[in-house]
């Protein structure tokens, strides 16, 4: 492991941690633009975070240490994901664990901490959000793994660095039916996993329609800030993963130069910004699904993942 690999890892972490709130700001701004509004600006989530971190901490009576620890655990899983997933360079210091299945597991770990916090508040809304979140997460799991499976067939490995290296050397492997099906399936599960429309509405004020928001209703001040920061990082990492799995161009190699690292940062910023703009635009024209229609969506994405794997198995030439 060279010094530059560590530098690249640091640059990657910094990009995600600093960039995640900006991503949320960008998505809000895109939405505002479509609605003809001015919008709060891309920096607004950072202002919100800064302010929340300076506010009073509140411990609701009757909660346990899980409530206090959950924001830290959720944030830790997000930071861990940002360190594992190759975003700026393929050879991260954590390459031995950069296995897509492990990444999915870490993602899930954050979800579990969040749902436990929701239950721990002991309010009806917290439990409701937790119950819905875990249902969706449980149904998302098969699709993610199948999409990963489909992508790993040409490479013969689920190691993220290896996957991206294969795509770089052989672009045809993603410009295939398998690639397209896996892409659609992954987009659907990322939307579900990140709690975006049409699965969950991040801007809702109506408790009964909430999924993610319902679990954090009791959080205030710094803990709320950490939760929001973590969920923004989660979305950023997922979008960056999507971008790099299908369009890895611009990513720095195993032993990068400083210039390559900077190019990598620039490339991923552009890619994620484009994806986020597209996602936010889609959200403007979309209504939230009823909760019990969500399994249909996930069954559909499961089917796409399955088709991706079988077509990869049958169309290999």
């Amino acid at each position: 492991m060279t010094v530059m690999a560590v530098v690249a890892g640091g640059a990657q972490l910094l990009t995600v941690t600093v960039g995640a709130p900006l991503l949320i700001g960008l998505m809000r701004q895109v939405r505002a633009a479509w609605e003809g509004r001015g919008g709060g600006g891309i920096l607004q989530p950072w202002r919100d975070l800064r302010k929340q971190l300076g506010k009073q901490q509140i411990i609701p009576r009757g909660t346990t240490v899980v409530f206090t620890a959950a924001p830290l655990i959720v944030a830790a899983t997000s930071i861990l994901l940002a360190a594992i997933v190759p975003i700026v360079a393929t050879g991260s210091p954590l390459d031995p664990v950069a296995d897509l299945f492990a990444v999915v597991g870490v993602l899930f770990l954050g979800t579990v901490a969040l749902t436990l916090a929701g239950i721990d508040t002991g309010t009806a809304f917290g439990g409701m959000g937790a119950s819905r979140e875990i249902t969706i997460a449980a149904l998302v799991e098969p699709t993610i793994l199948l999409a990963v499976f489909a992508l790993s067939i040409p490479t013969g490995s689920a190691n993220l660095g290896a996957l991206m290296a294969t795509t770089l050397s052989d672009p045809g492997s993603v410009a295939s039916l398998t690639g397209v099906l896996a892409f659609v399936a992954l987009v659907l599960v990322i939307i579900a996993e990140a709690g975006r429309l049409p699965v969950d509405n991040p801007a809702t004020h109506l408790e009964l329609t909430m999924v993610h928001e319902a679990m954090v209703l009791e959080y205030a001040g710094p803990r709320l800030a950490l939760m929001e920061w973590a969920s923004a990082m989660r979305l950023t990492v997922l979008l960056a993963l999507l971008a790099n799995l299908f369009l890895p161009w611009g990513i720095a190699a195993d032993a990068p130069t400083l210039l390559q690292v900077l190019t990598g940062v620039g490339a991923i910023t552009v890619k994620v910004a484009v994806l986020a703009t597209a996602l936010a635009t889609m959200e403007v024209f979309m209504a939230k699904l009823r909760l019990f229609r969500v399994p249909e969506l996930l069954a559909g994405s499961f089917l796409l993942g399955l088709l991706a794997v079988t077509s990869a198995n049958f169309f290999t030439r």
Partner: protein, 660 residues
């Protein structure tokens, strides 16, 4: 008969509490000692070679043959390792629950019988040990025989375990006669049609012991009603012997078999995994939940065995070996987290008398140690990183992912479906475990019993801490178990190779195939990330006004009552709706109107019951049929001694004529 045997000691207990304490301590330590001996013997067998022993006089005709090879040694280690902490745990638990002397006596014998199964070197010895084990477990299940549910569960269990035994008996007898040998080491090839018969019979018999669908129904009945240390032993140790039987008989002795064996194992495994986890995710009784989770995990292990068989036949030996390693490693992991889970549930049961999650809650405050320990068990059962079950499930998925390189139709179709099944199982098991831990231990107490809970006895906590350490080791450094697993796997024909299939080290690699995972590194990185998050939260900390404790936000109303919390039933309701077609819950709502006006409601009753749909569909007809047959047979019973003697004489005549 039963009343005499059990009631007398209870009277004794009342008179001499001191003697009962001694009895509990003796039984617990005997169990632990036998377990330790099992671990030692197993390790000797795995790394050296245990001498073959033959005791001719003990069993008429064939004698008792003991032979512990590395595979048997592996299971012996597993059972012993479960028995040691369970023994320690029993010291406190049995004293608290006032166990009768019979159960105290049988508990060490049960462990010994299980160890004897792993050491059996011939078919008669195996069958003898198996029957002893079954008998001992039935006696332990009816420890609390005053309650009708316990008696009914024990009866159900006894019937099923005996039917399973009959299947195994017939299967092994066919095998022995066709080969003309009854020692495992002297076995040769079984001719073709008989081999399939033996396979089906033994898989049915061992599958019923392992709790595989559709022969799983006894698990969900017997485990909740048995005392918790017994549940732990049964679920973590005895059930795995079903898997041992499948490996020993069907894979090692008469295998590796044709492709449909593998497909059958995969199908049965997938069905068990999915059905078990689905029932677990909607169960509200914590021990029932854990019992169904056993079905789920045994299903995963059976899937791994099936995958191993399929892949070795399809020309992917590396992937086949990985699947076999996954199966054995998951057996270990399951033994650790499941025994811990049952012991923690037992600790709650002893403290509160509650098994119903809908009435639990808020136990994290009065029982912090138990809560943490149950959390460790639940994390292991989830199969998530940092949990005990993660590495083995990862290995299973890797084996399936790398399978498709062989370009075989069955493999190409089975692998994605199997991955889907494993993934859905993992997802749902997370839901089940979050429910068990979150609803059971967090938030606020939902009943008076939960409010008055107190932490359990020191011996129980010590035992649980030992197992929890085992869970953590398996989760973070599975290399600790690598040597044992590697030796045992070498016995299996689907995984026999010179080079180890999985390179366990700080970073687990799969030689020959891409893919690596480093649970220790992952944990270290996680801790570092946690520290980073703590540091990030310190930003602007000095500006904050002092922290306050406030009541929960109740949308402006006054304080929320604990009754307003989500319960286990409501938590699982979305999943229940999604899988309505499989679970077939029976729910009805009664609305009682006021006498004055139809528009005013005085009470709404909501009832929701999720019975085991498979049990109703498959077992009920059989039971009805048997009852009807019994009615017919009853006509022959009229109480006349002469008639009975006539039956006997007739029987003798028939035998003479046939055997002429």
């Amino acid at each position: 008969m039963r009343t005499i045997a059990v009631d007398v000691p209870t009277v004794e207990v009342k008179n001499h509490p001191g003697r009962h304490h001694v009895g509990c301590a003796a039984a617990g330590s005997a169990t632990a000692l036998i377990g330790a001996a099992g671990v030692w013997g197993g390790l000797v067998a795995v790394f050296g070679s245990a001498p073959q022993m033959s005791i001719g006089w003990l069993l008429p005709l064939s004698g008792v043959v003991l032979h512990l090879d590395p595979l048997g040694g592996f299971f012996s280690v597993l059972i012993g390792a479960v028995a040691v902490p369970v023994g320690v745990y029993t010291v406190g638990y049995a004293r608290h629950e006032r166990w009768p002397a019979l159960s105290l006596t049988v508990l060490p014998l049960f462990v010994a019988a299980m160890l004897l199964v792993t050491a059996a070197g011939s078919i008669p010895t195996f069958l003898l040990a198996w029957e002893l084990m079954a008998l001992a477990s039935v006696l332990l299940v009816i420890t609390d025989h005053d309650r009708a549910e316990v008696r009914s569960a024990a009866l159900f269990y006894a019937a099923m375990t005996q039917l399973g035994f009959v299947a195994i008996l017939v299967g092994l007898m066919v095998m022995a006669t066709s080969m003309g040998a009854d020692r495992f080491t002297e076995m040769t090839v079984v001719p073709e049609p008989l081999r399939d018969v033996v396979f089906v019979l033994t898989v049915a018999g061992f599958g019923s012991k392992a709790g595989l669908v559709p022969l799983h129904a006894w698990l969900a009945r017997a485990h909740p009603e048995a005392p918790s240390p017994v549940s732990a032993l049964m679920s973590a140790a005895m059930v795995t012997l079903g898997v041992y039987g499948i490996i020993r008989i069907d894979l090692v002795l008469i295998g590796p078999g044709p492709r449909w064996w593998a497909v059958l194992l995969l199908l049965v495994g997938a069905a068990s995994a999915l059905y078990g986890v689905l029932q677990a995710s909607v169960a509200t009784d914590v021990k029932r939940l854990l019992a169904y989770s056993t079905t789920d995990n045994m299903g995963l292990i059976t899937m791994a065995l099936g995958a191993s068989l399929l892949l070795s036949g399809a020309g992917a030996p590396e992937a086949a070996a990985i699947a076999a390693v996954a199966a054995l490693l998951h057996l270990l992991a399951h033994a650790a987290f499941k025994s811990l889970g049952f012991m923690a549930a037992g600790s709650v049961l002893a403290a509160t008398g509650l098994r119903d999650l809908d009435r639990m809650g808020g136990l994290a405050r009065p029982m912090p140690v138990t809560t943490v320990l149950f959390g460790v068990a639940a994390l292991g059962a989830c199969g998530l990183p940092l949990g005990a079950g993660f590495v083995s499930e990862w290995l299973l998925v890797q084996a399936l992912v790398h399978a498709s390189t062989s370009g075989d139709v069955v493999v190409a179709l089975a692998a994605p479906l199997a991955v889907g099944a494993v993934a859905l199982t993992t997802g749902l098991s997370v839901a089940a475990m979050v429910k068990a831990f979150g609803i059971g231990f967090l938030a606020r107490p939902r009943s008076a019993a939960a409010r008055q809970a107190r932490e359990s006895a020191a011996s129980m906590l010590t035992a649980m801490v030992i197992v929890a350490v085992g869970c953590v080791v398996l989760a973070l450094a599975p290399v600790a178990a690598a040597a044992v697993v590697a030796r045992a796997v070498n016995v299996m024909p689907t995984a026999r190779s010179a080079a180890p299939a999985v390179d366990f080290a700080a970073v687990i690699r799969l030689p020959g195939l891409g893919g690596s995972i480093a649970p220790g590194l992952l944990a270290t990185a996680f801790v570092a990330a946690l520290l980073a998050a703590v540091v990030a939260m310190r930003w602007r900390a000095r500006r904050r006004p002092p922290t306050v404790q406030l009541p929960l936000w109740a949308c402006g109303a006054d304080d929320l009552t604990p009754r307003m919390q989500y319960t286990a039933t409501s938590f699982a309701e979305p999943l229940q709706r999604v899988f309505n077609d499989v679970l077939r819950p029976a729910s009805d709502i009664d609305v009682t109107h006021h006498s004055e006006s139809r528009y005013m409601v005085s009470a709404i009753t909501y009832r929701n019951r999720i019975a085991d749909a498979l049990e109703i569909r498959l077992y009920q007809p059989v039971v009805t049929g048997v009852k009807r047959a019994a009615e017919v047979v009853r006509r022959a019973h009229n109480g006349s001694v002469h008639l009975y003697l006539a039956y006997g004489a007739l029987g003798v005549l028939v035998v003479l004529v046939i055997a002429r």
